[in-house]
Amino acid sequence: MDFLSLHSRFYYGEKMKHIKLFLIFTSITLLAACSSLLLEPAQFSWPIESVLKVDKDGFVNEERHSINFNTKALFFEETQDSLSFAGKTLHLIRNNEGYYFMTSTDFKNVYVFSVEKNAFSLQNTILVNETGLSNPAFNQRSPYIELLDDAKTYKLTFEGIQEGVK
């Protein structure tokens, strides 16, 4: 092995080492930049449901938590009737994880929403009663949301009914 070949091997070996270090450093920096800051644990549950009167334009206003939104699309989704919101009341509660559960009298389903920018985004539709709920009410029974309908009780999570009718 002559001097030149020895020099060439040493030179390229060092260069590769530098490239590897650079790649590792860049990867770590990129990974750190991609991860978000988490504040946990957090609990979002409301102690009791809110029973909200739907106004003539389809809006409901929850004063204690300062929430105001339009329910027309929800009533249309449930009934396929664009005017079915008139004179109705909406039952609304938030569970520990932060999902919002909504239903109303004569609804067959409970709708589970999460929050997006200026909107509620539907996460799940839970079919509860094929004939419609006659007198629904939510209770906070962490980790569940308890749905009462007359004498029937359902335990709900955002994924669906966890326990059947009592």
């Binding site: 809110s50 204690r64 939510f138 209770n139 004498a151 009592k166």
Partner: protein, 416 residues
């Protein structure tokens, strides 16, 4: 067997009830609590006596007991209050309202005491008025009788004043609600004021006082300073009545015959005012009578001026008919013993200040008195004769002196 069946039914009912109980909506439970809470809160405001508050206190205890098992969820749901602070608020409201009633009870006790004092003073006033009437009716009044009369009048004045002050206190105690705007009073407030006024017989007490004050003026003959005090007293009464009278009219608006009683009071105020006006003229007339000067009655400034001017004119006309001594005595009695001594110095400021007599009228009477004086005791001319005599003597003396000075000059001229 039958017993077993009953037990089963009871067990089923218990289970069903338990299920229903467990299946209760938290929202409805909280709403039920809030409704009962609100009812109790309103009940405290609307309570009319301590007994109502005692009953409410028991209901508050029941509410607390009924919902103590739900304390946790109520703590979270009653934001910004919680279970304990909600009951603390009810307790505070209850205590405050209880203090209101305690104060009212104390005030009512005070009013009852004041009312019995007023009754006592009313009886005393009647006795004094009767005694004064008897003495006034006696034709002859010796010094002892006059002294007794004056003492009785002073006593009566004191008791009337004291009684009126008590009436003011009763009005103050009974009508705290009348202090504000009566149009904002609810029908319930008006009923409360009405029942308080009726319970304490306030209108009758005020009427009695007004009548007594008028009667006092009827049976007594007052000096100007006394009448000033009476007028002040009347003004205080008028001020008090103006404050509550129109409001009571509103409160009594639906009470028919009772509202007539308020009109009576207004009339009695007018009677009293007229009586005070009349009292001044009667007292002045009596002042002349006491000095055996009998004048016609007068009730106003014009009459007074006319009667006195006529009396003086008659006396001037009678000069020469009556003896000179009688005429002079009549003038002295009228002018020196009555007019300048009492009327002009004591009554005139009262009459003019209260616009019962104009300054021009006073000047007219005094001008008449001056005329009378010039007739009764014309100015003596002796001093005029003396001055004229002295002047003549002075002139004669001056002439003689001048002549004496002239004579020696003529002699000198002859010699030269």
């Amino acid at each position: 067997m039958k017993r077993l069946l009953i037990n089963n039914v009871l067990l089923m009912m218990f289970l069903l009830t338990s299920t229903m109980l467990f299946a209760q909506s938290d929202y409805e439970m909280v709403q039920s609590f809030k409704e009962r809470y609100q009812k109790l809160s309103d009940g405290i405001k609307l309570a009319t006596n301590l007994e109502d508050l005692d009953n409410l206190s028991l209901e508050i205890d029941n509410l607390k007991r009924d919902f103590s098992a739900k304390r946790g969820i109520l703590d979270e749901s009653l934001y910004p209050e919680n279970f304990n602070s909600a009951f603390e608020n009810l307790g505070s409201s209850l205590d405050l309202r209880r203090e209101d009633f305690t104060s009212i009870t104390v005030l009512q006790t005070e009013v009852t005491t004041l009312k019995s004092e007023v009754d006592l003073l009313n009886r005393r006033n009647n006795e004094l008025i009767n005694q004064i009437t008897v003495i006034e009716s006696q034709r002859k009044k010796d010094a002892a009788t006059i002294e007794k009369l004056e003492k009785l009048v002073a006593d009566l004045r004191t008791t009337i004043l004291k009684r009126d002050q008590l009436i003011f206190s009763i009005v103050d105690s009974l009508t705290p609600k009348l202090a504000g705007d009566v149009s904002t009073m609810t029908q319930q407030d008006k009923e409360q004021v009405y029942s308080q006024v009726e319970k304490n017989n306030l209108l009758a007490v005020v009427k009695k006082s007004l009548r007594d004050n008028s009667r006092f003026l009827e049976v007594t003959s007052l000096k100007a300073s006394d009448l000033d005090a009476v007028k002040n007293e009347q003004q205080n009464f008028v001020t008090m009545w103006r404050k509550i009278g129109p409001k009571l009219v509103d409160v009594y608006a639906t009470k028919g015959d009772k509202s007539a009683e308020l009109k009576d009071i207004d009339n009695l105020f007018n009677v009293w005012s007229n009586r005070i006006r009349k009292e001044a003229w009667e007292s002045i007339n009596e002042e002349f009578s006491l000095n055996n000067i009998n004048l016609q009655n007068f009730n106003n400034g014009d009459d007074f001026t006319n009667v006195l001017s006529q009396y003086i004119a008659d006396e001037i006309k009678n000069y020469g008919v009556k003896s000179k001594e009688d005429s002079e005595n009549a003038y002295t009695l009228f002018a020196d013993s009555v007019w300048f001594k009492t009327i002009s110095s004591e009554w005139m400021p009262y009459l003019i200040d209260n616009k019962l007599l104009a300054t021009e009228q006073k000047d007219a009477i005094e001008k008449k008195i001056s005329e009378w004086k010039s007739v009764v005791s014309p100015q003596s001319l002796t001093w005029l004769y003396a001055v004229a005599g002295l002047a003549i003597v002075f002139i004669i003396g001056l002439v003689i002196l001048l002549r004496k000075k002239k004579t020696p000059t003529d002699t000198t001229q002859v010699q030269s």
